[in-house]
Subunit: 254 residues, 8 copies
C-alpha cells in the first residue's frame, strides 16, 4: 500500500484494469473500515504520518475494545488517550497485550512499531508544577508510542527561575520542546527566550478562580512575545506530542 | 484641621459649643465643596492619605479648570490623569502654574507639597516594553506628585531574561515594586520570584488579538504563583502608584 | 547560608577555591532538592522571604507527606493549603506534628519559626459574609504561620454600613488590611474610602447566577475608585496573606 | 379612545354594528400608523402607560422628523433619546417646537401633557461621578417628560461615604430611587442598605480596562446583597426612568 | 425603637444624658448582635423595611439554627432561603416552629408578623416553564412572608402566546409583576408590552448549551425594549420578591 | 378541530351562536389543559405542526407521567427528550406503551401517528464522531416520531476528508441535512460546500479545554462561509429535527 | 455544463478521450479561475445552487471590479454584499450595469438570471425595528437576486404584540420566514409559536450596553423554545437569504 | 561572538583575565544596548536564532528610526512589523535602505543576511480568503527576511473543497505549513487531515458578528482533531513565521 493511493487508483481505472464501478467500490471499502458506529481510518497513518488514535473519554469499554481489536488485527498500534483506570482494567481483561500508563491515563499496544522513522534529535518536555504532570505524561507516552526519543524535566516553575537556568544545557540541545504549564503559564515565554528549538505550549487547567479552567495559561501563551512558540488546546498533551513528532521526524515530506 | 474630624465635631456638640443644627450644618458644608455638578472631597487626603485626583478622561476643559481652581484655592495639589495634550494646553492657558507630563498624559500643580511624609525606601517601576511606557509614566508622575522617591527601569521584557537579571541588585533594594506589562504579562511572576518587596502588577492593554485589551496580562498576573504580588486594573498606573505610596509611607497609621 | 548566594559562589570560583565544574555542580545540587517529581526550593525563603508552600489541591496524600518530610528534615516550616479534612487526617497519621486548621483547610507544622522578622503593625482581615470565612481563615492561618500579628472582623457586609462604621477605629489602626468579599464585593471600596493603610482585596466565589464564580467581585474590586487597593485571585486567601506579610515586614529590603 | 379597545371592537362586532371585515380592517388601521418603514404605536400609551419613544441612535434626521411629526399630529408627546447635537439642530430647523436637552442628548416636545397622572412622591436620581451625568440626565428628562416629580443628587461616589450619609434624609424620603454608577457600581448596594424605597440600578459604561464597557458595574448591581434593588441595561437612563415612573404612579392599575 | 436611631442617640449625647463613651458603646452594642462569626442586623428591618434573611446555601445546619434562634428570641421572623430538604429536616428537629417550603427550598417562622404594612394591590408572579417553578416559589414564599398579597400563574411560555393572552385581565390588574423565565427569557418582554404595572424580570438557569446558566435569559431581559422592566440576578426569586414588596407597600417612605 | 380556530370562534360570536361570555370561556378552556402546574398546549400541533414535547431534564418521574397520560388520553403522541434511563424505567412501569430509546435518552409513544404529512424526500443526519452520536440520535428519533423518513451516517470526521467524499452521492440526494459535530465543528462547513440541500448545524458539547462546552463548535458553524447553513443550540438534536421536519414537509403552509 | 462534473471528467478519462494529464489539467483550470489573488469558483453554483458572492467589506474597489468583471464575462450574476456607497459609486463608473441597493449596501448585476428554479411559495422577512432594516434588506435583495419571491413586513417589535397578530395571515402563508431582530431578539420565538413554516433567525448588532454587539439577540434565538427555528450569524442577512432560498426551492435535490 | 557567551565570560573570570567588576560590567554593557527608553537585545539572535524585531504598532516614527539605526549600525537586519504606510514613508525618508512591503505592512532592511542557515525544505503558506492576505503576507515577508524558502497559495476557502484538493501535491511536499484563516477557520483542520508536515494555524480577525474579532477561528483551530497542528495568536503572521522558521532550519540545535 502506498501513500499515493488516489493516483494509483486513477491509474488502474485509466489502464482498464478496473472499471469505474470497481474503482468507486474500492474507494469505498478500502481505507476506512466500518466497525459498528465507528469508522476506523486505516489510511490515516499514510496520509498524516500519525495512526488513528482512540479518544477514550466518551467511549464505553466495549467501544474501546472493538476499535482496538480491529487495529490490532490490521497490524496497527493501539494508542488510546483519556482512559480511566477502571475502564483500562476492563479492557486489559480482554486485551492483555495492552499496557496502561497510570499517570498519563493512556492505554497502548505497540507491538508493530518495528521501523520507526529517523528523528532529528530528542524532544524535551518541561513541566511547571506537579499538578501538570498528567498532561506532560500524556505527551511523553504519545511521543514514545510514535517512536520519538523524548526526555522530561518536571516541576520547574517560573517563580524559581534559577531552577530553569540550571537546565539550560539540556534545553539548548533539544530538537523540539513541549512546555506544559497551568495557572499563569509563563514558563513557555521564559523558555522561548532561551533557546532556538521550536516550542509547543500546552496550557493546563490546573488552577482556580481566574485561571478559568486553563484560559489564563492559554492566553498567556498565545500572547507570548517569545518567537518560535505555538500553542495547542488546554490539557492537550496528545496534540502537543503529535506536533512535536511531526517536527522531529527526519524527512516528514521525503 | 486634623484627621479625627468626626470625634472633634462630636466633642464640640457634647460640650455645648455647637448646637445639633450647627453640627449637622458643619458636617454638610465643610468637608465636601460643591462646584457645579462636581463635589470636591477636601477631606479625602485626611481620610485616605491621598488627595482627590481629577480623572480627566470624561471631563471637559471647563470642568477640569473649575475643579483645579478650587483645589488650588484651598491650598491643595492638583493631580489630573488621562488629560490629552490638546485639553492640557487649554487648561494651561488659564492655569499656567500647571505642568503637563506628555508621556503620562497628566497635569499637576504641586506647589503646596512642603512636608511630604517620610518613606521606607525607594519605589521601583519596571516596564516590559516601550509600548507600556505611558502607563508606567502615569505611575511615576503620580508617585512623585505624592512625594515618594521613585526609580524606573523600562523595556526589560521577559523574552530577554538576562536583561532582568542584570538589574537584580536594584530590584532587591526597592521597598515596593510596580511591574507594568502587557501582552502575556509574565514579567510580574518572574520578578516575584526574585525579590522580597511587595509587588504591584499593572496589566496593560498593549497587544492585539487574544490579548483582549489587557485581559490576558490581567489573568496572568492574577494567576501568578509568585507570592507577594497583587494586581490593579488594566492600564491603571495611577492606582498602582497609590497602592505603592500607601505601602511605602513610613507610618501610614501612626 | 546567606542571601547573596550567587555572589558568594562566583567569589569561590574567582579565588580558585572551587573549579568551574564544582561551581556548576554546587549550583545544581544546592538550592533545589529533587524529591521524586517534585523539586523543593529551599532557597525560596531567602529570595522572596516566604518559604515554599504546598498547594494541596492537586496532590495526593503521599506527595504531601514526601514534601512535608523533606521540609521538616531541613528545619523549614510546613505550610500546606487546600488540604481536605480526609487527606489531612491521613497526613497526620504519619506526621503527627502537623496541625490541621479546619475552616482554613490548611495543614501547618511551624516548630522552626524562632526568629520571625519584626513587623510594622497588625494586619487586619475584614470578611463580608459568613460564607467568605474559609477564604479569610486561609489568609489568617497563613499570616500567623509567617509570624505576622493579625486581627479579624468577620461578617460586616456593606448592606449594613453602620456595622462597618462601628469598627472604624480598628480599621484606622491596621498597618495593612485584607478585605474578603464575594457577590458584589463592594466592601473593599467602602473600606478603601475610610483608611490610609494599603488594602488587599480578595474576591470570593461565594454567590450564584451572575456572580460567575467570583468574577463579579473581582471586577468590582479591580474597578474600585478607592486609591490604595490592589487585588489577588478569586478565593486566594493565601496570596493575600503573602502580600500583606510582605507589606507588613519591618525591613523587607534591609 | 379608551384602554379597553379590544373589548370595544369585539362588542361592535357582536352587536352587528360592524361586520367581521370591518372589524379586522379597523384593527389593522387604527392603533398602529404606518409611516414609511416605521410603524407608530399610538396605542402603546394606553397599553403600557408610556408613549412610544423615538430611539434616535440609529435613525436619520429625516426618520426622526417623520415620526415626530406624526406624533405631534395625533396630539402625542415627542420623546426622542440618543439624539446627537448636530442631528437635533437639524430636526429643530423643521420642528422648532422641539426642545433639546444637551447633557441628556434628548429631544422633547411636550405640549400635550395636560393631565399627568398623580404620583406617590418624588423620584430621586443619585449619580456616582461626573462622567455618569449624561445617563442620569437621560433619566431625569424622561421622568419630567412623563410628568413625574424628580430630584437629583450628582457626584456622590462611594469612596467618600460621608458625602452619601449627608444626604440621608433626602434619600429616606424618596418614593423611588435611581442609582447611576459606572466603574465598580457599588453605590447602589450602599444606598440599598440605607432606605426603604425601591431602587433601580443603572450601570454605566464609564471606566476603562476591566470595567468592560459597564459589565463590571452591571455585575456588581446584579449581585448586590441589598434587598429591593433591580437593574436595567448599561447606560439605560431611559429604561430606569420608565420603571421609576411605573412605580411612582399613584394608581397604575386602577 | 424607632427609625431615627442616630438622631435619638445624638440627642441623648447632646442633652448630657449619655457620655461620649456611653454613646459609642451603645452604638456598638445595640443594633447588631454578634452570634459567633455571624453578625445579626436587627436594625435592618427599620432601615430597609425588610428583615435580615438567612442565605442558607453556604451555611451549616448549626449556623442556621444559631441565627434563627437569635431572630426568634428578639421577636423577629425567620426567613431562610436555599435550604436543602435534608438540612431543613435537621433544623426542624431543633426548631419545630419552622415551616419548610419544599418547592421553594425555604424555611420560615413567621409568628411575629402581626401588623403587616398595607399594600397597593396584589403582586403577580408569572412563570414560563415548569422547570422555573422553584425560583417562582422562592419569590412567592418570600412575598407571603413579608405580608404582601400575591397571585401566581405558572407555565405560560411564550411559544404559546395565546395562553398568555387568556390571562390578560389578571395581568392588567396586578400592582407589580414578577416574570420568571429561563432559556430565551422572552416572556418578560411580551408581558411588558401588555401592561402598565412595573415588571421585575428574574432570569433562571434553566436550559442547556448556549443558555450559559441563565446568561441568555438575563441578557434578553436587560435588552428588552418593553419600558417599565428591571431585572434581578439569575435565579434570584428572593431579590425579586424584595423589590416587589418594596414597590407594593402603600407608604414606603411615610 | 381545525387550524383556523380563532376565525371560527369569532364567527360563532358574530352569528350570535355564542355570547361574548361563552366565547371568552371557550377560548380559556379549550386549547390549553391545565394539569397541576403544567399547562398542556393541545393546540400547538395545529399552530406549529409539531406536537408539544416533554423536556424531561428538569421534570420528575411523576410530572412526566402526568403529562404523558394527558397526551395519551387526548390521542396525541408522547415525545419526551432528555429522560435518563432510570427515570424512563419508572415511567414505563406505569405507562408500558412508552418505548425508551437508549442512545437518544428519549421516551416515545406514537400509536396515533396514522396520517403523517407527505415529505419532500429523505432527511440525512451526519455525525462527526462517536461521542456526538447521542445528539444525532435525539434528532433521528424525533424525526421518526414526527413521521419523516431519515437516514444517518455516523463518524465521518473532517480529519479524514475522503470518508466524507465517499458519501457524496447520499449527501447530494438528501432533501435536508443535519450535521452534528463537536470540538471544532468544521464538518458543517465542508458539507455546506458540497450540496444544495439546506443544512442545519448542531454543535455538540463534546470536547475539552477551549471547546468551552460546545461554544467552539457553535462559533465555527455560525461563521461558516458555506451558504445554506443555519444553526441550533448546542446539543439540541431535538430542535434540529423540528427544523428539518418543518423544511421537509411537502406543504407546510398549504 | 452539468452538475455531475466529476463523473463526467472521470468518464472521459476512462474511455480514453482524455489522458491522465489532460484530466488533471482540466480539473485544475476549469472550475476555479484565478484572478490575481482571488480564486473565482464558477462551479460553486453547480455544487451548492448558489453562485459565488463577493464579500465586499474587506475588498478594494479594484478587487471588486476585477472579480465582478470575470463573473460577468462568464455569464454569471454579480452579487456583492457589504459595499459602502462610496465604493459602489466607483465600481459603477467602470461597470454601469451594476445596480446599487442603498439600504442593503449591496451591488448586483443580474442580467443572466433567465431560468430561475421554481419555488414552493413566498419567503417572508419580518423585521423588529427600523434600525434592523439594513440587515433585512440584505436578505431581501439576496433572495430577489437568487430569483425567489419575497415579501417583507418591517418594524413589528414584540413590545407591541398586537401589531404582529394583525399580520397573522400573511405569516401563516409564507413557505419560509426570516426574522430579523436586535436587542432582545424575542420576535423569533413569538413568530415560532404562531406558524408552521421553518424560521430563520437573524440576530442583529442593534442595541447598546449588554446587547454586546448582537450576542444578546443571538443567545435568545439559540435558546428559543419555539420548534422549527434555526439561526445564522449576527447581521448575516445574506446567509439567512441563502438558507431561505435553499429551503424554498422546489426540487433542491432533483 | 559565539552562542556560549555566558560560559566564555565565566571562563575569563576564572582564569584571571577579567576581574569580577569587569565581568559584571561586560555582562551589563554588551548584549543589550540601551537606546533612550528602548533596550536593543543584540544577543537575541544568538539565543533564539531570530533577531530582535521592531513591533511598529505602538511606536512613533522617531522610535522606529532610532532602533533601526542602531540595528543597522551593528550589522543586523531590520525587520519591523505593523508599520502603516504613512509611518513607513517617513522612516524611508531618513533610512532609504529600508524596503516597505505594502500588503504586509512591514519595513525591512536585509543587507547583512549573507549566510542564512540551511533549511529542510520549503515552507508553504495557505490563505483562506482574500481578506486574510495581509496576515499571510506578514508571514511570507518574515520568512523571507529570515532566509527561508517559502511558497504561497492564497484564497482557497473550505467551502470550495476541490480547490484545496487541486493543490494536494504542493501541500504534501512542504516541510512546514502555515494556514491563515478567519471566520470559521476550518481550513487548518482540513489541511491537517491531508499531510504529514507540521501545521501552524493563524486565526485572523476577518469576519463579523459572532466571529468576535478572530475568537471563532482561534477556537476552531485549538479544537481541531487533526494531529500535528499548533496555533499562534490572532493575526500573528509574524509569530507563525518564526515558528515555521524554527521548524524549517536544518540544525536548530547543532
Amino acid at each position: 500500500m502506498n501513500p499515493h493511493l488516489l493516483t494509483e487508483i486513477l491509474g488502474l481505472l485509466q489502464d482498464g484494469t478496473n472499471s469505474l464501478e470497481q474503482t468507486l467500490k474500492e474507494l469505498k471499502d478500502f481505507p476506512a473500515e466500518r466497525v459498528k458506529d465507528a469508522c476506523i481510518d486505516h489510511q490515516r497513518e499514510i496520509r498524516t504520518g500519525i495512526p488513528e488514535v482512540i479518544y477514550g473519554a466518551a467511549k464505553s469499554v466495549e467501544q474501546i475494545i472493538t476499535i482496538a481489536r480491529a487495529q490490532i488485527a490490521t497490524g496497527g498500534p493501539v494508542i488510546a488517550t483519556r482512559v480511566e483506570r477502571e475502564k483500562a482494567k476492563q479492557v486489559q481483561l480482554v486485551l492483555p497485550e495492552c499496557h496502561y500508563h497510570e499517570r498519563a491515563s493512556m492505554l497502548t499496544c505497540l507491538e508493530r512499531r518495528a521501523t520507526a522513522p529517523s528523528f532529528r534529535g530528542e524532544a524535551l518536555i518541561l513541566c511547571a508544577g506537579t499538578s501538570d504532570i498528567p498532561v506532560a505524561e500524556e505527551a511523553r507516552v504519545t511521543l514514545e508510542a510514535l517512536g520519538s526519543p523524548v526526555k522530561t524535566i518536571y516541576d520547574i516553575g517560573i517563580a524559581g527561575l534559577h531552577r530553569l537556568l540550571l537546565h539550560r544545557e539540556v534545553i539548548s540541545q533539544a530538537s523540539v520542546i513541549i512546555v506544559v504549564a497551568g495557572m499563569e503559564g509563563a514558563l513557555a515565554s521564559v523558555v522561548g527566550g532561551l533557546c532556538t528549538a521550536p516550542i509547543i505550549g500546552v496550557p493546563t487547567s490546573v488552577g482556580y478562580g481566574a485561571s478559568f479552567g486553563g484560559v489564563s495559561a492559554l492566553l498567556t501563551m498565545l500572547n507570548s512575545c517569545a518567537p518560535g512558540l505555538a500553542v495547542v488546546n488546554i490539557d492537550n498533551g496528545f496534540g502537543a506530542a503529535c506536533m512535536a513528532f511531526s517536527i522531529n521526524r527526519q524527512n516528514p515530506t521525503g
